[in-house]
Amino acid sequence: MSPSTTQVEYFPNRQQQLGLRVWAEMFAELRRHRGLVWQLCVRDVSARYKQSVLGIAWALLLPLTMMLLFTLLNRARVLPIGPTPVPYPLFVYVGLLSWQLFAKSLTLGTQSIVANISVLSQIKVPGEAFVFASLGQALFEFLMGLVVLSGLFVWYGVVPGWPVVFVPLLLVVVLLTAAGLGFLLGLANAALRDVSNMLPMLTTLWLFATPVIYPVPTSWPWCLVSILNPLSPLIANIRSLTLEGRWVMGCELAASVVFSILTLLVGWRLFHLLEPKIAERL
């Protein structure tokens, strides 16, 4: 017997009255719908590449072009980056790939609420499923990007050291940050569509405020980038663990992890609280 067959009660302010028990409910609901999350991932990925000739190759194309662009700008001294520990194309590609994972999750997660509003307003279904499913779509593109990355490793003769095994952990933190912010921005987007118009600008500006195409700055005032931006230590560590096999920015990284978990909890809780209000108003 599935849990949905048990008794439920609906009354005003239900969630607030549940207090902390609401968390148990949220986790149980997510667990119960894990099949749905997976199915929505598959749906979004397959629908996305269905009607295109290049299909999955599109997932490789964006980081690849960006890598070529920034490499070119670096070579032409338009955007001179200084010395990097590994060849610049490899350096910028790892950064871009992990940045893209974040930006894509954030964008898709924010848009997923409005994109699936017809479902949310007609069927009782946890909207979290759509947000978490969009992480999967971003992760899929990231995994595709790894194909190109392994090609670059071979080309430049770089072998990642064993600390690379910690990278998946950091990727999870990146995804959770994106999910938390996605919840918050998704809510805002449901109320004001300006948010989804603002999103490309936000991710572009944020890209340049993060050490993605350049190494972590150390001089004032540019080092603010790494102190104030919770993404900086994550991206920097993913890159240094992959390419140099070492941890950097320890304190900042810990702060980032805390930030990530808090964002996720606050975002998820707020989303859960406001979801019925969205369903009734749109």
């Binding site: 017997m1 599935s2 949905s4 067959t5 048990t6 008794q7 439920v8 009660e9 609906y10 009354f11 005003p12 302010n13 239900r14 969630q15 607030q16 719908h33 099949g35 749905l36 199915q39 929505l40 749906r43 397959s46 629908a47 269905k50 009607q51 699936n116 017809s118 479902v119 949310l120 307003s121 007609q122 069927i123 009782k124 279904v125 109320a191 609280l273 406001l274 019925p276 209000k277 369903a279 009734e280 108003r281």
Partner: protein, 419 residues
């Protein structure tokens, strides 16, 4: 589980806001108040707010069924959404025991790019089925949907009928303890409707609670035992079909009265009398009705024609009577006079009607006075009468081998004990 399935709704209410901006503001305020433990001010309406549902009380036990009727905007869909948990009530309490299946919009969640097969899985999971459950039911879903070769075609190429059939097929196989159906069957063709009705009745036999919203009186009467009439968010009638539909027909009031004519003669008064000779607005089906019309000629008129039309609120002229067509001449008239018409059996289908009375010259071209939709008339019956009228009929039955009729019945007495 099914035997104990139940719905209980107590004093439930829901406010909505007409203005999008205000509604966002109120939402934030409500949530903030709730979060710090302040009670919600559900008693009063803020600017631009209205009650979509107010003071709804009812309960249903396993195997019971309720038809929900009412005008557009009466709160029917909102009620279903609250029961399925999509929106939260802001007053009262709703308790639900059992798995809820809601057919509010068929095919919500279908992705146009994906094939029928892929969509069955996605939609099934959105509705709350597990993957294994869908796999087990896949063939039955497919058989019900009758999409044939289109199974592996993207659903954007489906006809709207196929789309709806597939949507219903997936949702219906959720095997719910409580089924909420919102006017979704009207999209399909008659055969599909019939199959859906049959499916719902098998679910009911197994003890599923049914809540059915529809504007189709016949479907509601066939699929439900009781009905509830909503009007502007309030439950104004709850009980037997006959009662609730009688109340509903009284509220269907879209035919505005109007008047025209050159006033050479004037229709002064119209009286509707029931079988007992008393003035009445509501008559039983098959009752004797007498109609009295007083006409004041302002100039001498010759052989005027009186025409009475029964306009049904379902949008057609149900019947008409005209003295010239009946070969009854009114002769020359100079002073006020009464015309009396007696209808021995008023067999119009139960519902709301408005009388249109017209007095005109013998050539029927010169209209003296034409009062449209001026006088309401309601016909009531305990049972549903299909069609626009009830034809009195005499029944008989005999075997091939018999020469004489075995049983005879006029089949009319049961309808109307004339007062």
């Amino acid at each position: 589980m099914r035997a104990s399935a139940a719905i209980e709704v107590r004093g439930m209410g829901k406010k909505f806001c007409r203005s999008l901006k205000r509604s966002a503001l109120y939402g934030v305020v409500d949530v903030a108040r709730g979060a710090i433990g302040l009670p919600l001010k559900t008693g009063d309406l803020r600017r631009d707010e209205f009650r979509a549902l107010d003071g709804i009380d009812f309960s249903l036990a396993a195997g019971e069924s309720l038809g929900v009727i009412g005008h557009n905007g009466a709160g029917k869909s909102t009620l279903l959404k609250v029961l399925s948990g999509i929106i939260e009530p802001d007053r009262g309490r709703v308790s639900i025991r059992g798995r809820v299946g809601a057919l509010i919009q068929l095919g919500a969640g279908f992705h146009p790019q994906l094939t029928g097969r892929e969509n069955i899985y996605v939609n099934g999971q959105i509705l709350g089925m597990g993957r294994r459950e869908i796999e087990a039911k896949f063939d039955r879903i497919l058989a019900f949907a009758e999409i044939g070769d289109f199974l592996d075609t993207p659903v954007k190429y489906y006809s709207s009928g196929m789309f709806v059939r597939l949507g219903f097929a997936v949702a219906a196989h959720l095997d719910p303890d409580i089924l909420l159906v919102d006017e979704v069957l009207s999209v399909g063709d008659m055969e599909f409707q019939a199959r859906c009705m049959a499916f719902m009745s098998t679910l009911r036999e197994r003890g599923t609670i049914l809540l059915f919203v529809s504007h189709n009186e016949e479907l509601v009467r066939r699929s439900c035992e009781r009905a509830m009439l909503l009007d502007h968010g309030r439950c104004v009638a709850l009980g037997s079909m006959g009662e609730v539909y009688a109340a509903y027909h009284r509220r269907v009031d879209w035919m505005p009265p109007s008047r025209s004519g050159n006033q050479r003669a004037e229709i002064d008064e119209v009286q509707i009398l029931n079988g007992a000779g008393q003035p009445a607005e509501t008559l039983r089906l098959g009752e004797t009705m007498t109609l009295r019309v007083r006409v004041i000629p302002h100039e001498p008129i010759e052989n005027p024609v009186l025409d009475v039309g029964f306009n049904c609120n379902r949008g057609y002229v149900a019947a008409a009577a005209n003295n010239q067509d009946c070969g009854f001449d009114l002769g020359p008239r100079t002073e006020p006079f009464w015309i009396e018409m007696r209808f021995p059996e008023l067999n119009l289908a139960p519902g709301g009607y408005r009388l249109t009375v017209q007095i005109m010259g013998a050539d029927r071209l010169e209209v003296y006075d034409w009062q449209r939709n001026q006088w309401p008339l309601y016909i009531e019956a305990d049972r549903y009468v299909r069609g626009a009228a009830h034809l009195p009929v005499e029944w008989a039955v005999r075997n091939d081998s018999q020469r004489r009729t075995e049983r005879k019945c006029s089949g009319h007495e049961s309808l109307s004990p004339s007062a």
